[in-house]
Structures are given as structure tokens and as C-alpha cells.
């Protein structure tokens, strides 16, 4: 198979030259310097590498770059608008929904995918959707709170 030579990332068509089997994660991180997307497990079990491909959440660590083709890839780097955090990013800050922050990009990308299709999810729906994302620091309740703040369904903000 021929090398993959271009990718649509964050609204731009970018030139690359990579083996088609290379996981998307490494193309983003090593070739395109988009390091907000993280490696955590390499087997789609922690969600740290989550990006959107045509709006769908994908684990980039197990997605060969050839499979992406012409589809639109969205990474954490695309979320800020005019140098300002978007509502979900603001909500993560407000809820103190992180400690070390290594899972945060993946959490935000997974939650973005959820809110795009289900703008007012119930807590159970959020848990179900987010259950493949691991926060080893254990800030899950705060992440739930953040997603609810962004969705406008939060009853209160955790202290």
C-alpha cells in the first residue's frame, strides 16, 4: 500500500508522508506536532487518544492512518476559538475537573462528541458514553459535573 500523503486535520489539508498502517495518534503527535492527543494504553482502553473523525469519537492509537482517508479529523487543539476556551473547556476549569490533566484532552473530545449528538444528556447517558475514558487521578465526578455545566444541566458546581 502506498504511503498516506495528506490528512484533513482541524479544517486544514496537511501534507504528510507516512506508512498507511501508522496509527493516527503518532501522525498527529510526531508528524504534525499536535501533542494534545495522548498515548495511554495503545489498545483503545483508556481514551486518552480520543479525537473526532467526521464528528465521531475515535481512539487514534488503534486507527491506522489509511482508514481516515479524506475524513475530517478534529483534535483538542481546534477547540479554542479566538484564543479563548470553549464552553466545555471553561466548564472543566470551573469544575476543577482535572488533576494531572493527562486524560483531559481525551475526556473533552469524548464529551464533545456526546454533546454534539445529545446536547442535554442525563447523568446515566454521560456515564455510559464516557465509560471508556480513564482518569487515574479519579476526578470522574468533577468531569461529570463539567459536562453538565457545559450542557446547562448542572444542579450545582462542585467545590
Amino acid at each position: 500500500m502506498a504511503n498516506v500523503t495528506s490528512l484533513n486535520v482541524n479544517g486544514k489539508k496537511l501534507r504528510v508522508d507516512v506508512d498507511p498502517q501508522t496509527p493516527l495518534l503518532y501522525v498527529l503527535r510526531d508528524n504534525l506536532n499536535l501533542t494534545g492527543t495522548k498515548y495511554g494504553c495503545g489498545e483503545a482502553r483508556c481514551g486518552a487518544c480520543t479525537v473526532l473523525v467526521d464528528g465521531q469519537p475515535m481512539r487514534s492509537c488503534v486507527t491506522p492512518v489509511a482508514r481516515v482517508g479524506e475524513k475530517q479529523v478534529t483534535t483538542i487543539e481546534a477547540l479554542e476559538k479566538d484564543g479563548k476556551p470553549n464552553a466545555l473547556q471553561e466548564a472543566f476549569l470551573k469544575a476543577d475537573a482535572l488533576q494531572c490533566g493527562y486524560c483531559t484532552s481525551g475526556m473533552i473530545m469524548s464529551a464533545t462528541a456526546l454533546l454534539n449528538t445529545n446536547p442535554k444528556p442525563t447523568r446515566d447517558e454521560i456515564v455510559k458514553h464516557m465509560n471508556g475514558n480513564v482518569c487515574r487521578c479519579g476526578t470522574y465526578l468533577r468531569i461529570l459535573n463539567a459536562i453538565e455545566i457545559a450542557a446547562g444541566t448542572a444542579k450545582e458546581v462542585a467545590e
Binding site: 510526531d30 492527543t37 476543577d96 482535572l98 484532552s105 482518569c135
Partner: protein, 718 residues
């Protein structure tokens, strides 16, 4: 010397090891950054000097070249533009110490938070530090930085007073401006610092602001640099890139303790751009991209010889069989166990076990290493940048002055990132290839080649009177460790011992150390004793507690939990309390157990925590919640399975971590004691969950849980 050796906990096994590799080939100036402005230097307090001696004496490494470079513990610099920089060797691992130390400085200097910048964990720029562990940053580093800031404040005030020709007492700092008595004149920090070049050493007795007068500390300041984390901009070690950098990969042995018999690296060496480094039992590759490095690593043919080794099915017998008589970390016997047993109405003996578990920080071990003119710079995620510098110096036979270790704020560690093997490997590949090399351990490498929380066996024999008085307490911990082994209960007769053993797996520090295991055994046993004398578990504990702080957390947790309420079918409640590293904790849990499947779910947790004066309630709440969630794994399902030197479940698809769906309703009750010094809070909140849950399971089912995680009970949390 023995007194010094007793200071660090015995189960920090990883600090006693030699360096990871023996290769065959062959000060800092604090004020380098100081060009002008005002610098305030904190001399090493006796406490810190003492800690240093421990490190040098205890670690088992050749520390002869890890001398105290000079006697600076921390320092603060105010440059001519008025920017305040505080320098500390501590590491940010998600505990938000970058925020809380900046709060201390801002508070003492009377400047807003955003005027303070913290320079952390860079061996060329920051003072020596033992490491970020043991809940020491808040109780030890914060007061040091406060002293520096307080002295800076007084120095600046004196300079402003001199300029205005008034008495220092007539000058105040209000919102980062110096003002005179009637506020008719004012100067900024920059205006006072301008044109100065002043270095002052701070006497150790500088007064610092008591907690009740704090204005910035004690408030819920949001995470410093939080924006960089939610935008993906923060650069962890794994994200760094250097000009011409290669990607590394290591050829790992077939099993733990395996020795290399033969290897053939020819195929890998012939791959374009690939460098193979073979030095003793170390074989690694470096390549222009990671995929090539992986292919090269796989192209190397190796034969290893692995000795037969015990598996987890025989672990606890093995630990008992290989145990020493008594080890340090043991207490001195109190009273007489024989007398206590003779006075008892009932006697109870039980054995508790804890499994090996993995830290599994989401950012694996990683390092970027670069050699320039014989000087080595390594960026690496470690809780001990100065310790790693020492390991590098030993391994490469170069003085520490030629090594710089920098630790970017990291993807956490939980006690698992105290050692420098990844940094050494990256540096060896960089040396061999002549280029900067990045090495990021895979998740599987993390599980096999790092170290685990020690497994352990704990035997408890006790006597109790029918009125609930515990008369005898005999407690033996085999292998897991001595942290948190001493009791805060008022037991008249005690024999509490920790016994080292031979560990089949590499083991070491883990958040809270053995305090988790020892609290599990102790607090489950307390529940068993309460039931033996038909007493309510809270009442029974209170009967044996004189310590007011312990009593306060226990009562606070019981009250918020509504302990003693109505029982629901299929549900049970349990409680535990304790003390470790200067802070007090009580945890109450409610569980449901499915009668048919035996599936356990934690429904509700209340945890009360008291660590003296609270520095930042927001982040403290976050820490306590996070510790509870992390504790769920060790209590219910986390466990390393192994056999013959192989880790059998060393990946996330096989090793179950707590997830969103595991998290119960959590209520945290913080007791703020402004009259007491602040203790660290990153560890102790983890110790209460497992026994509280175990006791709740007993309440629900009548099945006594004596193992972490649950097994052999027919119950599961799968």
C-alpha cells in the same frame, strides 16, 4: 545513624536498589538566573538538612557525589520588572502543589496570585530536593517559601522606606503596591526592585503569617496554568521534541530476572537510520520515527534464560516463608500481650492479605535525553529529579554538575515514578546515537518493568472485654510495609511488627505506602471485634479512642453519613478511621450486593478528613475524592497476576481500573483546623475506603472480607 535510617519508611524499596544498569564505558550556581533585582535565600533548615542526611545514608546508592551543593532550601527572586519567582525542587504531579505553593508566596508577599511564578523541578535552577513524596511539600516546602517571601516583603519595605526617608513601620504593601502611612505615595514592586542587585540570606526565625490571617492561602484558587491543560497545550515529557531527535525502543527480557544468552542485531542495524545500542544486557534501538524503531526492535533476535519464579497463587505462603524476624518500621512493644490476653473476655485471630497493584499513571515513564559537549540534559517525568540526576551520574560515571534533569509537570505518578530507569535508557541511546532520543515506555513496559505496591500478609491477634475495651493488640505485617502500622487507639498492650520478606516482583512506594494495607487489616479487625462484643462499630471505636482529632473525624463522618439509620435489604454500611502523615481520616461506605450474582457496588461514601489548616479547599476536595476513587480499584478488583517472571495481566484490557461507572456518590467533610500546621493531603485520604467497604459487605452479606482486592469470597465487582 540508626535514628536517621528509621526516618524514611522501610517499604520504599525502590530507593534501596542499585541503578538499573551497569554500563561498561566510561554547582549548579543557584543564582545563575540572577542578573538583577532582589533574591531571598532560605538556608536549609535543620529539618531539611536532616532529610538530606537520610537520603545519603539510607538509599543504599553511592551518594558520595550527591553532596548538598550549598545550604539553600528554597529561594525567591524579584526581578527588576517586579516579577516574583519562587524556586523549588518539588514536582507538579496533579496534586496542585504549583498552585498551593504560589498561594503561600503571594499570601506572604501581599501580591496577587498572577504575579507569582513558580520554577520547579529543574536541577540546574532549583535547590536540591529529596523528592515529591511522603506528603512533605505542604508541611515542609510551603513554610520555607513563606519565610523567603516574608523576608522579601520586609526587605522591600525597608528599601521603599529608605527611598521615602520614612520608618519601615510606615510602609505597607497593599495589592502589590508599597504605600506610605497616608497612601499619598506609592511604588510598585518593579520600582522598588529596579537597579538593585541584592542577595539576602534569611534567618530561620523569620515570622510567617499564621493560618487565621491568611488571605490568599486558605482560599479556593483555581489550578495555575489550568488553561494549558484543557487546551492540550501543556507539554508533558512525552510531548517534547528536540532538533534531530530519534525515537527509542528497548529490547526487553523474556521474563523478570532473565539473563541474555545470545542476540543478533544485524537485521536491525541494516535498517536505514536505525542505531542499535548493545551494552551488557541492555539492547535498545533509536530510529527517526517510532514505527521504524518498533520494526527494528522486533527484528532483533534474542534468547534469554529465565529462572523459575513463584506465581501469585502461592504468593502469600511465599511471603510468610521468607519473612525476617523483625524489621525496622516495627514499634516497641507496649505493656504485655500475655497480660492483655489474660484480661480479655474474647480473643480473635485473623489473617488479611493485600495483592500487588500497579500505579498505572496515565502518562507512562518517559524521557528525552540529549548530550552536548559532555553535558547531559534529560527531561523526564519523575518524582525525584535530583535522585534521577544521581542515578545518571553513577551510571555514566560523570559528575552531577554535568547533568541537568528537568521535570515538566507530569501525567502523575502516585509514588510510582521515583526511579530513573527510563531516563538512563534514553541517555544511553542518545549517547550511542549521538542524537537526542525520546523514549516513552509502552503501557506493557509500565506493567512489567516498573515496580508495584508491595503485596502483604497481615496477622492480627487480639483480646477484648465484653464492654468493648481492647486489652491486647498483636499485629504482624509481612512484606507490605510499616507505614500506618502504629495505632492511634488507646490500646494498653501492643506488639506491632513489620517483617521484611523476599518479593517475587519488584516493589516500592505507592501513594500512602503500607498505610492502606495496615488500615485495611486494622479497621476490618476492629469491625470484627465490635461484632464479637455486640457493639456498634462507631461506638466500639470511640470506646477505644482518646485522641481528640481522631474522635472528631470519626464523629463527623458518622454524622454526615447518618450512621445508625435504617437498614435496606441487600445493602450494608461500614466505617473505618485512622491517621497517617500528620492527617486524620474517617470513611463510611454503603454498598449493595446482588444476592444472585454476588456483584458488589459501592453506592455512597462519606469521608471526613482533617489535615490542619486548609490551604485550598477546592483542590483538597479534589484530592480526597480522587483518592477515594483510586482506592476503589485496590479494594475491589486491582491485582497483578504473575507466574514465572511474567506479568499475566499487564495491559489495560486485562487490568481493571476504576471507571466512571464505578464511582459512588461521594461526600467529603473537611475539618479546617486553623490552629494546626497544614499537613500533606495527597496520600492519607486513600487509606479508609477498603476497610469501610469490606465492613459494609459484611453488614450486607455476613461474608467477612479479609483480602484486597475481593477474592475467594464469591463476590466480585466485575
Amino acid at each position: 545513624m540508626n535514628e536517621l535510617l528509621d526516618q524514611l519508611e522501610a517499604e520504599r524499596y525502590e530507593l534501596f536498589e542499585g541503578p538499573a544498569y551497569h554500563f561498561s564505558f566510561n554547582r549548579r550556581q543557584f543564582l545563575k538566573a540572577f542578573s538583577g533585582g532582589i533574591a531571598l535565600i532560605v538556608p536549609m533548615s535543620n529539618l531539611v538538612a536532616h532529610t538530606l542526611q537520610q537520603e545519603q545514608g539510607e538509599s543504599g546508592r553511592n551518594r558520595s557525589n550527591e553532596r548538598v551543593p550549598d545550604d539553600i532550601g528554597a529561594w525567591i527572586h524579584i526581578d527588576e520588572s517586579g516579577t516574583v519567582s519562587a524556586f523549588t525542587g518539588k514536582v507538579e504531579i496533579g496534586q496542585n502543589i504549583r498552585t498551593s505553593l504560589a498561594q503561600a508566596v503571594a499570601d506572604e508577599l501581599h501580591v496577587p496570585m498572577n504575579e507569582v511564578r513558580l520554577v520547579m523541578a529543574d536541577t540546574d535552577l532549583t535547590p536540591f530536593d529529596l523528592g515529591t513524596f511522603g506528603s512533605m511539600s505542604t508541611p515542609r516546602m510551603a513554610p520555607q517559601l513563606r519565610k523567603a517571601a516574608a523576608a522579601a516583603r520586609e526587605t522591600l519595605i525597608a528599601l521603599a522606606a529608605e527611598q521615602w526617608k520614612v520608618a519601615p513601620a510606615d510602609v505597607r504593601i497593599v495589592n502589590a503596591r508599597f504605600v506610605n502611612h497616608d497612601a499619598s505615595k506609592s511604588l510598585t514592586l518593579a520600582e522598588v526592585a529596579k537597579g538593585r542587585k541584592l542577595v539576602k540570606t534569611i534567618p530561620p526565625d523569620v515570622a510567617i503569617t499564621p493560618a487565621r490571617d491568611w488571605t490568599i492561602a486558605g482560599t479556593s484558587v483555581p489550578k495555575v496554568d489550568g488553561r494549558d491543560f484543557v487546551s492540550g497545550k501543556h507539554q508533558y515529557t512525552t510531548d517534547l521534541k528536540r532538533e534531530g531527535m530519534l525515537y527509542g525502543r528497548i529490547v526487553r527480557p523474556s521474563a523478570l530476572e532473565a539473563k541474555l544468552l545470545t542476540s543478533d542485531t544485524k537485521a536491525a542495524e541494516s535498517m536505514p537510520g536505525v542505531v542499535v545500542v548493545h551494552d551488557g544486557d541492555f539492547i535498545g534501538v533509536a530510529a527517526p520515527d517510532l514505527q521504524t524503531a518498533i520494526r527494528a526492535e522486533k527484528a532483533i533476535a534474542v534468547h534469554w534464560e529465565a529462572p523459575g519464579q513463584p506465581g501469585n497463587d502461592e504468593l502469600f505462603d511465599y511471603l510468610k516463608k521468607n519473612a525476617t524476624a523483625v524489621s525496622r518500621g516495627s514499634g516497641h512493644p507496649v505493656g504485655s500481650i500475655a497480660d492483655g490476653m489474660a484480661a480479655a473476655d474474647k480473643k480473635l485471630s485473623a489473617t488479611y492479605t493485600v495483592a500487588y497493584i500497579a500505579h498505572a499513571p496515565l502518562e507512562p515513564r518517559a524521557a528525552v535525553a540529549e548530550w552536548n559537549d559532555g553535558k547531559l540534559t534529560v527531561w523526564t517525568g519523575t518524582q525525584r529529579p535530583f535522585g534521577v540526576r544521581n542515578e545518571l551520574a553513577e551510571t555514566f560515571h560523570i559528575p552531577e554538575e554535568k547533568i541537568r534533569v528537568i521535570t515538566p509537570d507530569m501525567g502523575s505518578g502516585y509514588g510510582g515514578k521515583h526511579t530513573g530507569e527510563c531516563a538512563i535508557e534514553a541517555a544511553r541511546l542518545a549517547r550511542g546515537s549521538g542524537k537526542p532520543v525520546k523514549l516513552v515506555w509502552t503501557r506493557e513496559e509500565e506493567f512489567s518493568w516498573a515496580y508495584f505496591r508491595p503485596a502483604g500478609v497481615i496477622e492480627v491477634s487480639t483480646g477484648v472485654k465484653n464492654d468493648g475495651t481492647v486489652t491486647a493488640w498483636e499485629f504482624h505485617n509481612y512484606n507490605s510495609g510499616g507505614a500506618g502500622i502504629q495505632v492511634k487507639y488507646d490500646f494498653p498492650n501492643q506488639n506491632i511488627q513489620f517483617h521484611n520478606s523476599k518479593s517475587p516482583l519488584r516493589q516500592g512506594s505507592y501513594r500512602g505506602l503500607a498505610a492502606t494495607a495496615n488500615h485495611f487489616a486494622r479497621e476490618v479487625h476492629m469491625d470484627e471485634l465490635a461484632h464479637a462484643v455486640n457493639m456498634d462499630p462507631v461506638e466500639f471505636r470511640l470506646k477505644n479512642i482518646k485522641d481528640e482529632r481522631l474522635k472528631a473525624v470519626l464523629q463527623a463522618a458518622a454524622k454526615t453519613f447518618r450512621w445508625g439509620g435504617k437498614k435496606t435489604d441487600g445493602r450494608g454500611v461500614g466505617i473505618a478511621c485512622g491517621f497517617e502523615k500528620g492527617s486524620y481520616i474517617a470513611t463510611a461506605a454503603e454498598v449493595s450486593v446482588d444476592a444472585k450474582t454476588g456483584r458488589v457496588k459501592i453506592e455512597r461514601v462519606v469521608e471526613s478528613f482533617e489535615c490542619g489548616a486548609i490551604v485550598n479547599k477546592l483542590h483538597l476536595n479534589n484530592q480526597v475524592e480522587g483518592a477515594i476513587v483510586q482506592a476503589i480499584g485496590g479494594a475491589l478488583f486491582e491485582q497483578i497476576e504473575f507466574k514465572n517472571g511474567q506479568i499475566l495481566n499487564g495491559k489495560f484490557s486485562k487490568y481493571r481500573l476504576p471507571r466512571f461507572s464505578d464511582v459512588p456518590k461521594i461526600e467529603v467533610v473537611l475539618l479546617d483546623r486553623k490552629d494546626l500546621p497544614s499537613a500533606g493531603a495527597g496520600e492519607t485520604p486513600i487509606v479508609g475506603l477498603a476497610p469501610a467497604v469490606g465492613n459494609a459487605i459484611f453488614d450486607a452479606t455476613g461474608k467477612r472480607i479479609r483480602s484486597m482486592p475481593l477474592h475467594g469470597s464469591g463476590l466480585s465487582a466485575a
